[in-house]
Each structure stands twice: as structure tokens, then as C-alpha cells.
């Protein structure tokens, strides 16, 4: 028999102001206009795997159900195909809202356990920060080592194929002016840090986050 769960939500389960915060992120301004028509979910190729459909995520954000949204797999399954964004009859940039939620989840470290996607995002960011470019094969290897080492074994055939077709690159691509790039990126986090400090809140910069080990 299936276990019986109580699903009622109390007002204390909400995090007041969360919805308004997300609506304040650049690109997310149209969210209040959502009429819950479900076009986003219907157009989404991945909604069939999500615990909440994109439409439900819109409703949850609006209703301040922060924990439910940030721990859902929905935001991590979004493949950024922008199908929902171009189809939405209210021109809500749903993909951008998903990005805003992903950023929030990473910043607060609350993404669902066992989801390798946030790890990929971090590893990707880290490689860009240090090299300026991405070498996909190296990235994938790192990802497998960190998140899912068994996958390395199961995809040995793929690696072999890549070697055979001359696509297995082990020498990392890098740019010359890495300091320039680092300095540029630093301005963003420094300014933001200052702004947040002024507001009396603390959030880790992406660089700090990346420095932490993945759980």
C-alpha cells in the first residue's frame, strides 16, 4: 500500500516576499500576469519529468512557496530551449525565471540531492573562471568524478569513440588574458557584495561557492 501523506500547506510554510523578490529580478517582471493556462507546461519537452510543471512553479513562486520551488527538480530539468518563453500568451520570460530560481538555489545551496546539473553548472563556471574557455571532455570528466563516478565506467565506450574520432581533447583550451577576464568578473561580485553588505544581508559570491566542496 502506498504511504499516506498529509499535504496541507500552512501559511507558515510560505516565505513572505519571495515571489516579489523573484519578480524584481531582471527579465522576470511579467510573472504577475500569469493566468495559469499551462501553455508553458504543454510546450515544455521536459515537463513530463518534472515534480512541478512550469505552470505550477509560476503559481508557487507567486504564492511565496520558496522551499518547494527551490528544492524541486523542475528548475534543474529546464534545458533552456525557450519553448515556453516564446509560447507564453502573457510574454512571461519563463526561461529567465527558471534561471533566477537556479541562481537562487545555488546561492542558498538548497538544490535537490543527487541532481548532477547544479554540479555541472558550478564546474563549468569554475573552468571558465580559470581558463576562459571550456574543454568539454575535461569538463565531463570532472563532472563524473565529482557527481557520479560510476558513470565514467558506463560511458567508457563513449570516451573510446571520442578518441577514435579525434574529438577527445585533453589539452585544455585557454585564453591569453586570463587576468583581464578575472578582473572583469570580479567587478560584478565586488559591486554586488558591497550592495548586499549595505542591505545587511550576506550571500556568497559564485567564486566562494565554487570553492566549497559539493555535498
Amino acid at each position: 500500500m502506498k504511504s499516506i501523506k498529509r499535504t496541507i500547506k500552512y501559511d507558515a510554510d510560505r516565505v513572505q516576499g519571495f515571489g516579489r523578490e523573484i519578480m524584481g529580478v531582471t527579465g522576470c517582471e511579467q510573472l504577475p500576469s500569469c493566468i495559469q493556462c499551462g501553455t508553458c507546461s504543454g510546450a515544455c519537452p521536459l515537463s513530463i519529468y518534472m515534480d512541478f510543471s512550469p505552470r505550477q512553479v509560476m503559481a508557487l513562486v507567486r504564492a511565496d512557496f520558496k522551499r518547494e520551488v527551490l528544492s524541486s527538480n523542475t528548475i534543474w530539468l529546464c534545458a533552456s530551449c525557450y519553448g515556453c518563453t516564446v509560447e507564453c500568451p502573457r510574454q512571461i520570460r519563463i526561461t529567465d525565471i527558471m534561471y533566477a530560481l537556479k541562481q537562487r538555489a545555488i546561492r542558498e545551496g538548497v538544490y535537490p540531492k543527487g541532481m548532477p546539473i547544479p554540479v555541472l553548472a558550478r564546474e563549468f563556471t569554475r573552468m571558465v573562471l580559470s581558463k576562459g574557455r571550456i574543454t568539454e571532455t575535461l569538463l565531463v570528466m570532472r563532472l563524473f568524478l565529482k557527481a557520479n563516478w560510476r558513470a565514467v565506467l558506463s560511458s567508457w565506450r563513449l570516451g573510446l569513440g571520442l578518441i577514435q574520432t579525434g574529438r577527445f581533447v585533453l589539452k585544455p583550451e585557454r585564453i591569453e588574458r586570463r587576468e583581464e577576464l578575472a578582473a572583469m568578473l570580479a567587478t560584478v561580485s565586488v559591486t554586488r557584495h558591497a550592495a548586499r553588505a549595505a542591505k545587511g544581508r550576506h550571500h556568497a559570491t559564485p567564486e566562494q561557492l565554487i570553492a566549497e566542496e559539493v555535498p
Binding site: 493556462c37 499551462g38 501553455t39 507546461s41 504543454g42 513530463i48 505550477q56 510574454q91
Partner: protein, 676 residues
């Protein structure tokens, strides 16, 4: 209510003596909480009471109420007021009310000025202090201005009793019949070759399921037979001149190459046409059937007269045809290839526009596959398919001739979408449920309606929704994302597949169907902007004709004497269209039966002593109201022609032109007061 006594015996000559003194009464209205919640009305009244010339200053709950108006009247008598200022709502709403009150109190109604502290103040501001400051400034401007008001008289212009109705759909038909029955002469102009409009294309009407033709055809025939109605089909309005009571309208009558009075609609010419096959798409059946170059639009058309399509007819196009149609009509000689476009001028006093709507082009939403998949049809196409007089004699069939066993209705196609039409088209929910019921009745198919919200607010409509549910029509709440023809599961092979989130069940579904019906929304006519210019109307941003007031004047426009009815004002169903048509007709009758209109005395006038005779004002007047008197070398204004725009006043280099109600002096004082 509170009142503060002003210092009536103030400074200046105007206020000096008892008889010649300016004695202003000021009233500020709370309008319940509408004004009072934002503007400190008592403070405004107190402030105005301190202004010179103000002998009385009151604040009151509702100035437009009977006691409010009576208050003005008794104050005028008791306090010997000779000027009145009311600070309340927009003058466009209640100026007339208060002018009448002032007149009843024994004053000339133009010794009055109104201050708009609701629409222009309390409703648009939040800060109580700044709003009160603004209200004081507004009130002061009016007080300063009203001193310089003159005693004026309105002029009366007689009204031409004939009426023009533009558009021969159900709204235009009903308006024309109402006016005709009241004994007024009506010109009904219709662009298409027959009247009837969209309603003539419908099979049944919701929510009663009575047959559209059965209720419409008698009205169409009545129009044709009516002694007071002149019907011009295949005609358009080319030009509109004049003003309320006296419009001169030019109608362009396109040649149908058939003399209407001679044709009896026997259709023998159609049979004899050199084109043996009907091969051109038939507009009335939305392209689902074919017609010949000579045709009658549909069997019940009014007038019962054929016409020739100049784009298709060999004779009209090339002049090289055997003209077999002429032979067929040898005895009546109704066919006339020499017909030319004709311009007719008529004089009317009032105009009703009932120009209707057009349907959203479903091709604009490629996701639904209209135009790509043959079994995706629009609601109007299905309407023609279910009609017994339609191209399939009432059989609902797929393009291959087989019967559909499943169907999906997609609602809100083009509607409620910021990328296409933002508005709700209001009728599609009911229309689709009606079609779904007919679909089920005709085919016993499994029918599903895909909707965002079911809107069934009309009389009997919720009951109709219930009937649809009980008859087994399925409802899926979710806006369809796409329609495709590729199969992922065996049951989808050869079908159209709808992908949608069933938002109530909580998951995405793929639903295979045989036929898809798109409930396309209503849009303003393609030429609504041109029409708007022709009749000097306003349009909403969407392109619907704008009513004078959304609640209080729903069929009036900002141009006096021109009224609107039906879907040209916004989407609506048949009962609402008829109601508006009746209302528009009643508005016309009210004007006509009074016999005259009172013109606002805001005309321009020349101060002859200042006119230098430079003639620079002459070309400025769009109404040619200004002429030049060569004998005295001065300009003259014909106040009967002047519409009161004031352009000449502002342009006169000698300052020799004034405008009643908007004299320079009055405006200067208003500026002075508003910046105090």
C-alpha cells in the same frame, strides 16, 4: 456639511457695490469617499472662502444629488450669488447638471465653472497633502476665471430627421427597423452584396439553440419591404461632412452589373454562365464551396439579386465573352455590363455605425496547424458544415469524406494573448459549446473542449454549460501548446495530436483527434482606422470604436449625432448587439424628436475695432466660417458654421478674435489662479 463665510466686501471695483459686485458661491463635493478620502475638502472650502469675491464656500457629500443641486439654487437666491463654482468630477460628466441647477436658481447657466478634482486629482494621486494643495490651486483658478464669465445663450440648430445606418449585420438591421417603424426615413448601407452579416452564416444560436436563419430571415425581408428604409448593398460610405443634425454623406455604390430593380433572382443566368463549373471560392461558405462569376451570395440573400464578380467575369475582365448570361435574361434585361461606380449624396441628421468585426486569422498561430493540416478548421467553417443549407448539407465530414470520431475544440485562438489580441472575445466559450453539442448530435463523436476559463455569464449560459457537461462533452482546462501529426504511440497514428497540460488533472497529455476546431476570436475590421477617420471617432488602442462613456454613454461617441452598435464597439453576442442597436436607435430618436440641438456657445467672434484685415485667419478655419468683408476690410465669423475650436483666436496677430467660454482674459486668469 460645513460652510465658512467669505469676505464678500473685498477689494476692487467688481466687488464694491451691492448690485454690480461679483458674488461667488463655491461648492466642493466629497463624492462620498471618492474625493473626500484623498482631498481635504473642508480645507479647500475654507481656503476658497478667504478669496476675494467669494461670499459663500461649502463642502458637501454629493453635489450632484438633488439636495446638492437644490442647495445651489437656494444659495443663489438667499445669498444673491451671481457666480457659481463647483469642484467635483469631470465637466464632461456633470457640467450640464450644474449649469441646469444654476439656471434654475435664476442665473445665466454660463456664470458657472467646474473644477475636476476627482478624475484629475483624488483618483490619480495618493498624497493627501499634495492633492489638497492641488485642489486648492484648481479651485482658485476657477474662482479667478469665473469673475470674467459672460452671460451667454445657447443656439438651436434644427435636426434633419433622416438617419444613416452603416452596416447590415444583425445590429444594423435591428437599428434600421426600429427607426423605420418609428416613422423615420433610414438609409441602410452595406458593403457586402447582401445584408445579414455574420449571423446569416450561423446554423443555430446559443443558448436556446434556435435556428439563426429562422429568426434572422424575417428581419432581413422586413428591411427589404420597409417603406421607410432605403437599402444600398454593395456600397460604402466615401465621405462624411457636416455636424450633428446636418450631415452630408457621400455613398459609393459599386457596380454589380445587374440592375437590382429588374432582377428577380431566378438564377437562370447562373446556369447559363460560360463557366460550366463553379470554380471560385465562395465567401459566404468561407471557401468550403465554389461559385461562378455570376452568383447570388446565399439562398436567403437580401436583396434577392445576383451580381457579377468583376475579378472573375470574363466579359468584365477581357470584354471577350459570349455573354450567355445576357441571353438567359433576355426577357428582363437585368444584366448591364455598362454599369459604373456611382456616388450618391444624402443628407442625414444622425448616423449609426454597426460595422461589425472580423475573425482572427488562425494562420497567425502556426502551432495549431491551420492551413497546414486540412482537418484543422475554424469555428465559422464548422458552422457552415453543420448548417443544412451549407456546402455539405449539414454533414460534418473530414476532408477525405469520412466521419470524424473524435474532435477537439481549442478556445481563445488569438484572444487573451498579448502577442495577438489581449481581449477576451466573449462569445467563443458559448459558441464553441454550442458547436460541440451540434457536433456530438450530428456525429456521436467524442468531443473535448480545451479552455482556459469558461466564461458563461449571459442569461441561460451557465445552464447551457451544465447541459454541455451532462451531454458528455469533455472539458480539459489548459491552453493547447501545439497540434502535430507525428505519432509517438500507436493510437496516434494518422491522427492530429494535441499536446496540452491538463492543469486540473496535473499532467501533460497527448490527445489524438480526427478534427480540430479553432475558436477564433473577434477583431476590429481591417479598415476600422479608416472608418474612424471618416466619421471622426476615437478608437481604443485595440481598434474598437470608443464609446463616449464606458458605463453612462455606451452607444454614444465623442462626435455628437454619431452612435455605435454591435461588435464594432467590442466583442459581444447577438442579444447584446440587438440591445445596443435598440439603444442607438433610441438615442437618434431622442435627438430627432426634440427637433433641434443646443449648441455650446463656444463660438469665435471678431472684435471689429481690432481687426487689421490681414486675412491670416481665413485659411485656418476648417469650416469656412470666416469670410472677408471687402466693404469694411474686416473678417467676419459666421457663428452658425463655427464649431468652436479656437484656432483662429490663438492665431490672430491683432488679438481681434475672441471665443465665448474661452476668452483670453478668462484663460489668463485661470493660469494666474492655478499657479497661485
Amino acid at each position: 456639511m460645513s460652510a465658512s463665510n467669505g469676505n464678500g466686501n473685498g477689494n476692487g471695483n467688481r466687488n464694491g457695490s451691492q448690485t454690480g459686485a461679483i458674488r461667488i458661491g463655491f461648492y466642493v463635493c466629497h463624492c462620498g469617499h471618492n474625493i473626500g478620502a484623498v482631498v481635504d475638502c473642508a480645507a479647500v472650502a475654507h481656503y476658497v472662502g478667504t478669496l476675494p469675491g467669494v461670499v459663500l464656500s461649502r463642502d458637501y457629500k454629493y453635489m450632484c444629488s438633488d439636495p446638492g443641486q437644490e442647495l445651489i439654487q437656494s444659495d443663489i437666491r438667499e445669498h444673491r450669488l451671481n457666480r457659481v463654482v463647483v469642484a467635483s468630477c469631470s465637466p464632461l460628466l456633470h457640467e450640464h447638471t450644474f449649469r441646469t441647477a444654476v439656471e434654475r436658481g435664476g442665473l445665466n447657466p454660463f456664470y458657472f465653472q467646474m473644477v475636476n478634482i476627482r478624475e484629475h486629482n483624488s483618483w490619480v494621486h495618493n498624497d493627501r497633502e499634495l492633492a489638497t494643495v492641488k485642489a486648492k490651486a484648481q479651485a482658485r483658478a476657477a474662482v479667478e476665471r469665473v469673475r470674467y464669465h459672460d452671460s451667454l445663450r445657447t443656439t438651436r440648430v434644427p435636426i434633419q430627421p433622416d438617419v444613416l445606418v452603416v452596416g447590415g449585420g444583425i445590429s444594423g438591421i435591428h437599428a434600421a427597423l426600429t427607426l423605420g417603424n418609428a416613422g423615420k426615413k433610414v438609409f441602410l448601407v452595406e458593403r457586402e452584396p447582401s445584408i445579414g452579416g455574420h449571423m446569416a452564416q450561423f446554423d443555430k444560436t446559443f443558448p436556446t439553440l434556435d435556428c439563426a436563419a429562422c429568426i434572422l430571415t424575417p428581419k432581413m425581408s422586413a428591411v427589404r419591404a420597409h417603406e421607410n428604409i432605403t437599402l444600398w448593398t454593395y456600397s460604402e460610405v466615401a465621405k462624411v461632412e457636416g455636424y450633428v443634425g446636418n450631415y452630408t454623406v457621400t455613398i459609393r455604390r459599386r457596380p454589380r452589373y445587374v440592375i437590382e430593380d429588374l432582377c428577380v433572382g431566378c438564377l437562370e443566368c447562373v446556369g447559363k454562365c460560360i463557366y460550366k463549373e463553379a470554380k471560385f471560392p465562395d465567401d459566404f461558405n468561407v471557401g468550403l464551396s465554389r461559385r461562378k462569376p455570376i452568383y447570388i451570395p446565399f439562398p436567403q440573400a437580401v436583396p434577392q439579386v445576383v451580381l457579377i464578380d468583376p475579378e472573375r467575369c470574363l466579359q468584365v475582365k477581357t470584354g471577350k465573352c459570349k455573354k450567355t448570361c445576357l441571353e438567359a435574361c433576355a426577357d428582363r434585361k437585368a444584366i448591364d455590363f455598362s454599369q459604373q461606380e456611382e456616388l450618391v449624396q444624402i443628407k442625414v441628421g444622425t448616423i449609426i455605425l454597426a460595422t461589425g468585426f472580423k475573425l482572427f486569422d488562425a494562420k497567425r498561430i502556426p502551432q495549431y496547424g491551420y492551413g497546414l493540416y486540412p482537418n484543422v478548421v475554424t469555428s465559422l467553417e464548422l458552422e457552415r458544415l453543420v448548417t443544412s443549407s451549407g456546402p455539405t448539407s449539414g454533414e460534418i465530414i473530414l476532408r477525405d469524406g469520412s466521419k470524424p470520431r473524435t474532435a477537439g475544440f481549442i478556445l481563445c485562438v488569438g484572444s487573451r494573448d498579448t502577442r495577438t489580441n489581449r481581449w477576451c472575445s466573449r462569445t467563443c466559450c458559448m459558441h464553441s459549446m454550442k458547436l460541440a453539442q451540434l457536433f456530438k448530435e450530428h456525429t456521436q463523436a467524442d468531443v473535448t473542449i480545451f479552455y482556459m476559463d469558461i466564461r458563461a455569464p449571459g442569461k441561460g449560459c451557465e445552464e447551457f454549460y451544465d447541459k454541455s457537461l451532462r451531454e458528455g462533452i469533455r472539458f480539459v482546462r489548459g491552453r493547447v501548446a501545439e497540434v502535430t501529426d507525428w505519432a509517438l504511440a500507436p493510437e496516434e497514428e494518422g491522427k492530429l495530436v494535441i499536446r496540452v497540460e491538463d492543469t486540473l488533472a496535473g499532467f501533460v497529455r497527448r490527445i489524438p483527434v480526427d478534427m480540430i476546431v479553432l475558436a477564433v476570436g473577434m477583431e476590429p475590421q481591417a479598415d476600422s482606422q479608416a472608418m474612424r477617420r471618416l466619421f471622426n471617432l476615437s478608437c481604443s488602442t485595440e481598434g474598437w470604436f470608443l464609446e463616449k462613456h464606458p458605463k453612462l454613454a455606451p452607444v454614444s461617441t465623442f462626435t455628437d449625432g454619431i452612435f455605435i452598435a454591435g461588435c464594432c464597439q467590442g466583442p459581444k453576442d447577438i442579444p447584446d448587439s440587438i440591445a445596443q442597436a435598440g439603444a442607438a436607435a433610441a438615442e437618434c430618436l431622442a435627438l430627432i424628436d426634440r427637433g433641434y440641438i443646443e449648441q455650446e456657445p463656444n463660438t469665435a467672434h471678431i472684435h471689429e475695432e481690432n481687426c487689421s484685415g490681414c486675412k491670416s485667419c481665413l485659411p485656418l478655419c476648417p469650416y469656412t466660417a470666416i469670410s472677408f468683408d471687402e466693404t469694411v476690410g474686416r473678417a467676419r465669423i459666421n457663428e452658425a458654421l463655427c464649431k468652436g475650436c479656437g484656432t483662429c483666436v490663438a492665431s490672430c496677430p491683432s488679438g481681434a478674435i475672441g471665443q465665448h467660454l474661452f476668452e483670453d482674459e478668462q484663460i489668463f486668469k485661470e493660469i494666474e489662479g492655478i499657479l497661485a
